[in-house]
């Protein structure tokens, strides 16, 4: 059993590990990986691989396997969202954070699993990967933060082996831009996506938020995911298949 919180990659990352076995070294390695991602992929660190790539200092042949992977995923989400999801906006530095965050945390969870962890919940700034059950016979109960009341939730979802990501601007202001216009995205207060993989959940949540009200119908047609969207009119739009916790 381990409870660990660390501020890394610019966000609080909490691990709630329920396995009885000693997995201390796996936990250390997991957070070491997240620190490595921070050093290599932060657009806010001048010497990071991402910053050097953004300034055109890295040739295609010099890209690491990981950055290559991230770039191809960024291109994918840009494509399926019709450009609303964007890593390269005019007047802004290259910023793949919307993919890097989910991707790095999914890899961290995969590492824990490979090391033998089966019952854990990893929460990175509100993006969640769950594995197994916190107690025999029940799923993890994942609350969805109420967009206007920090201490309240507006829904509770049940999750065993799954991921839940939420994009919203209630905390940091209008920081999600609609790549189609270059302007802050409007129309939605909060977008939650449930998927098998956190990279996908997180990127889809960001893309849906960037699409604004267009994102409601768009998200509904995305295969293999479930969504819970709250619009500016305080209406909740949710997939029929979402599992209440």
């Amino acid at each position: 059993m381990v409870r660990h919180v660390e501020y890394v990659m610019g966000m609080p990352i909490s691990l709630d590990l329920r396995d009885e076995e000693d997995l201390a070294s796996a936990v250390t390695e997991t957070f070491t990986w997240l620190h490595e991602v921070d050093a290599r992929f932060s657009p806010y660190k001048v010497d990071s691989e991402v910053s050097r790539y953004g300034r055109g200092l890295l040739a295609a042949a010099d890209l690491s396997e990981e950055l290559d992977d991230v770039l191809s995923r960024c291109a994918y989400y840009e494509d399926i969202s019709g450009g609303a999801f964007s890593t390269q906006l005019p007047g802004h530095d290259f910023d793949p954070c919307a993919v890097v965050k989910g991707w790095a945390v999914q890899r961290a969870a995969d590492h824990l699993h490979a090391a033998g962890a089966r019952r854990f919940c990893l929460n990175a700034g509100g993006d969640v990967v769950t594995s197994g059950e916190p107690e025999p016979g029940r799923a993890w109960r994942v609350g969805i933060r109420h967009p206007e009341q920090p201490q309240a939730v507006c829904a509770v979802l049940a999750s065993r082996d799954g991921t839940v990501a939420t994009s919203a601007t209630y905390e940091r202001g209008a920081h999600i831009l609609d790549g189609r216009t270059g302007q802050p995205a409007t129309g939605l207060l909060s977008v939650t996506v449930v998927a098998d993989d956190l990279t996908h959940a997180d990127a889809l949540a960001t893309a849906t938020f960037a699409l604004g009200t267009d994102g409601i119908a768009w998200a509904a047609t995305q295969p293999g995911v479930e969504v819970l969207i709250i619009d500016e009119g305080r209406r909740v739009h949710r997939s029929p298949g979402l599992t209440p916790g």
């Binding site: 409870r3 916190p134 109960r141 994942v142 509904a220 997939s239």
Partner: protein, 133 residues
Amino acid sequence: MKKTIFVVALSIAGFIAVWRFEPMGTSVATSAPTVTSAPSASSGADGNTTADGTAESTQFGTVQVRVTFDGSRIRDVALVQEPSSGRGVGALPQLREEALQAQSANIDTVSGATMTSEAYISSLQAALDAKGS
């Protein structure tokens, strides 16, 4: 006229393929469409020829298209009959709508935008982390 019938048959095949498309990746067993009426063609006063395709019975209902020709060129393809239920345009996946409600519930973790340390300190997640399990 032979060419016309051939084109109409192709159009029907295309429409049926559209109805059979399952966006969620679930597969369904489909039986071969059965023809319930013969194709027909008529010439209008404007010189266009209109041809109705055969009405095809699919598992989603009956599908029939009408093709309008200007000489040998297709001017328009329209649905004469379409399934009343199943994979029509109205059957795209839809979200349910409900009112936003606040609740306090017994939870293990919180999904939400919690990036800054200031927001974290006063967050439900921090309370859960502090409480332990």
